[in-house]
């Protein structure tokens, strides 16, 4: 049922990309060539046996600093590092660390850099990872800074699209749900602006894609359109990227009530779709995708999460200077 075909990239790859000791703070820091290079490296890692992967980072230590909890992201990074034979130290929640006692982010990083070869961090404030990278002599990977960036999520989304569609160019891609506050859709849309895709933004008026992104995408020559109904685009798209509508983003609970159930993808709704359609979602879902959809060939969200492993492994290997 799975599409295992993974068509080779048609662009010439530059093998001398310099990722060693580099930070990854924002998807906007990567050029198109660098993105394609990392995706190609992920494809290589994926083809390795577990035993081969396990020998690649023996003796290396990753610090995993989660100043706010995020179980999924933390597990994915830890599993990635341990799968490469490295070790993981760190904390899951700043409440258990001295950070809550008033230790500055700067001081925390200056301490941790003594113990680790690479630092993965998640922080509730926008821009925290950029600041940490300025303090740190060890490379920093941003695992989410507030509402701003989560570049490895964007890379694994691109990897999932490439893997299922065989290309990144010329696709019809819809993003559905909270496009106003949704960090993942902002970053993914900007990353896709390197490729010639048609983007369909489906959101209630209250949660439309911010003008800043629409302007930027149009300035880059992208074809973008806005819709309120998912049904208007379902039959046309190759990728349906669903997002959850998060209650905590709404200052007024009444506004949340108005939109919380506005999109719900059911099995019945998938009758007239393209055969190559794949449904993606950054997870966790609330109720925007019926569990009955899970059994259709279109559901890809769990595999998408799994793609986080080769993508993060490829990135860590590059940053540690391991050439594949």
């Amino acid at each position: 049922m799975n599409n295992n075909l993974f068509i080779s990239l048609s662009v010439p790859l530059i093998f001398n990309m310099h990722f060693k000791d580099r930070d990854l703070i924002s998807i906007n820091d990567l050029s198109k060539e660098e993105i394609l290079f990392l995706l190609d490296q992920a494809k290589k890692v994926e083809a390795f046996s577990h035993a081969k992967r396990f020998g690649l980072l023996q003796g290396k230590i990753m610090a995993s600093l989660f100043f706010e909890p995020s179980t999924r992201t933390r597990l994915s990074f830890s599993s990635s590092m341990e799968g490469l034979g490295g070790r993981v130290i760190g904390f899951d929640d700043e409440k258990t660390t001295s950070v809550k006692k008033g230790e500055s982010l700067f001081d925390t990083i200056k301490m941790v850099e003594q113990y680790a070869d690479v630092i993965v961090m998640r922080h509730p404030r926008d821009g925290a990872a950029r600041l940490a990278a300025e303090a740190s002599s060890k490379p920093i990977i941003n695992a989410g800074d507030g509402a701003n960036q989560h570049p490895t999520q964007t890379l694994l989304d691109l990897f999932s699209i490439l893997k299922t569609q065989g290309k990144l160019e010329g696709l019809n891609i819809a993003m559905v749900g909270d496009l106003k506050y949704g960090r993942t859709v902002h970053s993914l849309a900007m990353a896709l602006s390197h490729f010639d895709c048609n983007l369909f933004f489906v959101a209630p008026p209250m949660l439309r894609m911010p003008k800043q992104y629409l302007d930027e995408l149009r300035r880059k020559g992208m074809t973008v359109s806005e819709h309120e109904k998912m049904e208007d685009v379902l039959g046309k798209v190759d990728v349906l990227y669903m997002t959850r509508i998060q209650q905590e983003r709404f200052p007024d609970p009444a506004d949340y009530e108005k939109v919380k159930h506005v999109y719900r993808l059911t099995r019945k709704g998938l009758t007239n779709v393209k055969p190559n359609l794949k449904i993606m979602h950054p997870l966790p879902r609330i109720n925007e995708i019926s569990t009955l959809v899970d059994e259709t060939p279109y559901a890809y969200y769990f595999q998408q999460a799994g793609n986080g492993i080769p993508v993060r492994q490829a990135l860590i290997l590059q940053i540690m200077g391991v050439q594949l």
Binding site: S26, N28, S104, L105, F106, H123, P124, R125, D126, G127, A128, R130, L131, D145, G146, A147, N148, Q149, Q212
Partner: protein, 159 residues
């Protein structure tokens, strides 16, 4: 030491050559002179600074002027005030004469000039210096915070 010239005067009638060595910054929007000094970091220095506020001006109706004695400001320094005083002109004075006159230009980036309006930005805590990239240099300006990456329009700038 700061002295204030109280009397509104006709344009051109106040004396640029009132200082022997230093810098005169003219055509500052009214009421912004003190902010200009703050951005230039001159509020804490011991140089003699003469602040003129609310002069009448043909070009701007009203304007502020500052004169700083015994201090040469580089172009990079004075360009920092372009966000608050885009029409400001800078005259460098030596021996009572204007030896250089220039307009301020919007730089590619500014540090410690505007504050990030995003309440969740890391620069709101940790004593981090603000840092913006000017992404649109024509009016209305747009600037992107180096940290939170949000882009702000000129009307949102917080000085």
């Amino acid at each position: 030491m700061t002295a204030t010239v109280k009397e509104p005067q006709k344009e051109g009638s106040y004396k640029v050559d009132a200082i022997k060595e230093g810098v005169v910054i003219d055509h500052i929007p009214p009421k912004k002179a003190l902010k200009v000094l703050e951005i230039l970091g001159l509020a804490e220095l011991d140089n003699v600074v003469i602040v003129g506020m609310n002069f009448s001006s043909k070009k701007m109706k009203m304007k502020d002027v500052v004169k700083i004695e015994k201090r040469v400001l580089t172009k990079d320094e004075t360009d920092k005030i372009s966000l608050i005083a885009p029409s400001a002109s800078v005259s460098v004075i030596k021996d009572f004469k204007v030896v250089e006159k220039r307009h301020v230009e919007v730089p590619d980036e500014v540090k410690k000039v505007i504050q990030c309006p995003n309440p969740n930005c890391i620069t709101q805590s940790n004593g981090v210096k603000s840092y913006f990239h000017i992404v649109k240099k024509t009016s209305p300006l747009q600037a992107r915070c180096h940290y939170c990456e949000k882009i702000f329009d000129e009307k949102e700038f917080l000085f």
